[in-house]
């Protein structure tokens, strides 16, 4: 069907010699060599010619059936492995990164709180608070290294990690300076502590929040990707099954045979694959949905609550350390207020709202109980804080400090209870998330390989089934 390409370059020949040089498969007109489009037209015409006879028709049907089921299997394998890899990402990567980012965020906030608490306790600082601070800084550095090696170099996260890596040593340097001045009994120590807190709240925590938001966003996106319904596979399944049924019906009409074993096998294999796909994906979606709604959504609120409680505690300590050094005008009332007391109230407001949302999401159960405990401790914290402020305003600074840092009657104790309840809830919800996400992933495991095998079985069945009919014509 190919026409020699050197025809045009050949010297003009006598009309009589032209047919001798044309291809043995003679075209419709020997003078005009056929073009490529004409070759395609020729192909369809051949097909049309073949469709005119029953064996030809059967061959076409067999080829179409084999092609359809193989396509169904291939597309299913492709879509399912995409969902599976997304679910795998959720379980093994993005979930870990998001938890790490939450860890960085809360370690930093906790370090700031521990530094302020230790400072207020006086010099030398209580060993426990110093250790808490050291642990927090170590944890933050370690998690930052992990995050840097695991995160794809996509803008927001990378930038945040870079800035955190730059800012952390600056912060710890300021804290060391604050400590050394504090040990000499100089008020400059408190000024350094305030400056360190400013760097923490204005530089580090916002970057940690960006990192956390980016990573939880990626987690949600991966989860969303894993939950997407495989529409192409479903459509191809319906099409393949439809054509299989039609072919069997046609077979039945022409031969009066009820079953064609090959075609029945092909239909069964396709049906099994469709059901497996449907059930597996539905169950996976259900699990992944639970991971998101019963795990991740609560984790977000609980993490928010944790960060706000830490901020509130740092500010409460700083109110006692700064001694009215920083006064800000309230933008609404125009009244001068202590900056740290104001920031404390803001953080407590956020904490209260986050706890309320977390309680609603928990909807009873052990986590609901823990969040309830956190809310009770929150109320106690607020009322004790009021007492401490009253003591301070009345000029009894020592009593105020005691109410903030010492013993079971202190705001520090209430804060500790909020923390404990939140940590328990976070652990619980993290486990919930992991359980659901892993279950979701397992629903999809084996499906891609299964799709390939079943599609091959179905294709073989179709080809054999049609082949058997064809053999009757020989």
């Amino acid at each position: 069907m190919t026409y020699p390409s050197n025809v045009r370059t050949a010297p003009p020949a006598a009309p009589g010699r032209a047919p001798a040089r044309s291809s043995p498969a003679a075209g419709p007109s020997p003078e005009e060599p056929p073009t490529r489009a004409a070759a395609w037209v020729e192909g369809t015409e051949r097909l049309r010619a073949a469709a005119a006879t029953e064996p030809g028709r059967l061959r076409i049907i067999g080829a179409a059936l084999a092609l359809l089921v193989v396509a169904f299997g291939a597309v299913t394998a492709w879509e399912v492995s995409d969902r599976y890899s997304a679910a795998h990402d959720v379980v093994h990567r993005s979930q870990q990164l998001s938890a790490d980012a939450a860890g960085i965020y809360s370690s930093l906030a906790d370090a700031d709180t521990a530094a302020a608490s230790a400072f207020l306790s006086g010099a030398p600082e209580p060993v426990k608070l110093r250790d808490d601070y050291d642990e927090d800084i170590k944890a933050a550095s370690r998690l930052l290294i992990d995050a840097a090696s695991h995160t794809d170099s996509t803008g927001a996260s990378d930038e945040a990690i870079k800035k955190l890596n730059e800012g952390l040593p600056v912060y710890t340097g300021l804290i060391e300076q604050a400590r050394s001045y504090n040990r000499q009994g100089l008020p400059l120590g408190a000024a350094y502590l305030r400056y360190a807190n400013e760097r923490m709240t204005e530089d580090l925590l916002p970057e940690a929040k960006t990192l956390y938001d980016t990573e939880t966003g990626r987690l949600a996106a991966d989860n969303e990707r894993a939950r997407r319904w495989p529409y192409a596979s479903t459509a191809l399944a319906v099409l393949a099954l439809g054509v299989l049924c039609w072919a069997q019906r046609r077979d039945h009409r022409r031969t009066n045979r009820v079953f064609n074993l090959g075609l029945v096998c092909a239909t069964a294999a396709s049906l099994v694959l469709l059901v497996w796909l449907g059930v597996g994906q539905s169950l996976a979606r259900d699990n992944l949905n639970s991971a998101q709604e019963r795990g991740q959504a609560s984790l977000k609120e609980l993490n928010d609550a944790r960060i706000e409680s830490l901020k509130a505690r740092a500010n409460e300590n700083l109110t006692m350390v700064s001694l009215g050094a920083v006064i800000e005008k309230d933008s609404r009332t125009g009244v001068d207020e202590d900056k740290y007391e104001k920031d404390y109230q803001t953080a407590m407001g956020e904490l209260d709202r986050a706890l309320a949302r977390a309680e609603k999401l928990a909807d009873g159960g052990p986590v609901g109980e823990q969040v309830g405990k956190a809310r009770a401790a929150y109320a106690q914290w607020q009322s004790r804080h009021k007492e401490a402020r009253a003591s301070d305003t009345a000029g009894d600074y020592r009593a105020a400090v005691t109410k903030v840092i010492d013993g079971k009657e202190s705001t520090g104790h209430s804060f500790g209870q909020v923390e404990k309840a939140l940590e328990t809830s976070l652990d619980e919800k993290q486990r919930d998330f992991e359980r659901f996400a892993a279950a979701g992933q397992s629903r999809l495991s084996g499906l891609a390989v299964g799709a390939g095998v079943l599609a091959l079985v179905a294709a073989a069945g179709a080809v054999l089934g049609i082949g058997r009919r064809l053999s009757e014509y020989r």
Binding site: L188, A191, T393, G395, Y397
Partner: protein, 339 residues
């Protein structure tokens, strides 16, 4: 107030032998005008005001030290140890303690020692001396932290019940404007604005050497006001508290600090690597302030101040100064003197 009171007041003036040159003549004119206006416009003063207090009041005779139309150095009331209305009210309280507005962040003046958690400083010593004079107990004080902006309102009861104070002893500069709002004691300390820079800096003081330099001062402070009117091309760095300026300077975020000389002493005591650049700007004076009507209280404070500075080198003023301020602010021998 009656005409007799005013006459007595005039007599008081003469008895103190205050007439000197034009200042005396001016004072007399002022006294006449005052007498006239007071007789014509009876003021609603609180009842039961001790006549003795008024006898001790006098119109200042000292020539104003700053080009302002009032005397910054001397109080409007004379020292007295009599318990007037204000003191009687304080003593009759459920908790008979003096409520004093102080600062907790000015090293050497009024600050909370982070190690002992106690208040310390020159101002705190003075507060204790006042409490000892009134109650015989230096600890009969409720300290209340007040900010620069709250001082006048806290005295006049506008900061609410929990925020009001009897006295403010908080590096408070005496000014004619403030004298209209509160009653000041005699001046107990002399200061002025001062530029501070790291040793070896090219900055030579409040002058053109500040051009393109970052100069730090506290928001709303008199140093900030001064830099706003004339900055010599300096870039202003504003922080909540003058102590924060030292942090900025140490971290290389500012090239110089501008603050009160007396507070500069506190900064220099915490960082030996900074020094004064150039001379101190025109003088200002610190005074103890009370509500305008509490004349007996300020008369009592003035008595404390008089006793406080008596004794030359061994006066309590000098002892307190040596303990808290001499290191960063050497060379003073006593409180500023009137006249």
């Amino acid at each position: 107030m009656t005409t007799r009171d005013s006459l007595r007041r005039l007599r008081g003036l003469r008895r103190n032998g205050g007439f000197r040159g034009w200042g005396g003549v001016m004072a007399m004119v002022v006294a006449c005008v005052l007498t006239g206006s007071l007789t014509l416009l009876p003021l609603s003063r609180s009842v039961g005001q001790d006549a003795a207090d008024f006898a001790q009041q006098r119109i200042s005779t000292a020539v104003p030290v700053v080009a302002e139309d009032c005397d910054l150095l001397e109080s409007a009331v004379r020292p007295s140890s009599a318990d007037g209305n204000a003191i009687k009210t304080i003593k009759a309280r459920k908790v008979p303690k003096l409520v004093v507005g102080i600062d907790q962040n000015s090293y050497g003046w009024g600050y909370r020692n982070p190690l002992t958690k106690e208040l310390e400083g020159f101002d705190i010593d003075l507060v204790r001396a006042i409490a000892e004079e009134i109650f015989g107990d230096p600890d009969a004080v409720t300290y209340r932290a007040v900010t620069t902006g709250q001082r006048v309102d806290a005295l006049n009861g506008r900061e609410g019940k929990d925020g009001s104070v009897d006295l403010v002893v908080r590096t408070m500069s005496i000014s004619c404007e403030r004298k209209k709002q509160v009653l000041f004691s005699d001046a107990y300390f002399e200061t002025g604005l001062q530029v501070l820079a790291p040793k070896g800096s090219a900055i030579t003081g409040y002058d053109r050497s500040l051009k393109d330099k970052r100069v730090c001062s506290a928001t709303g402070s008199s140093a900030d006001a001064k830099l706003k009117t004339e900055s010599y091309g300096a870039q202003r760095v504003l922080v909540p508290n003058q102590l924060d300026c030292l942090v900025r300077l140490q971290l290389g975020m500012a090239d110089a600090i501008m603050t009160d000389n007396s507070l500069a002493a506190g900064l220099m005591a915490q960082d030996p690597a900074i020094e004064r650049a150039g001379a101190q700007l025109p003088k200002e004076y610190y005074g103890v302030a009370a509500m305008k009507d509490n004349t007996d209280l300020i008369a009592r404070v003035n008595k404390v101040l008089r006793d406080y500075s008596a004794g030359g080198d061994n006066s309590r003023w000098t002892q307190s100064y040596r303990k808290w301020l001499a290191k960063g602010l050497p060379g003073l021998t006593g409180p500023p003197k009137a006249g």
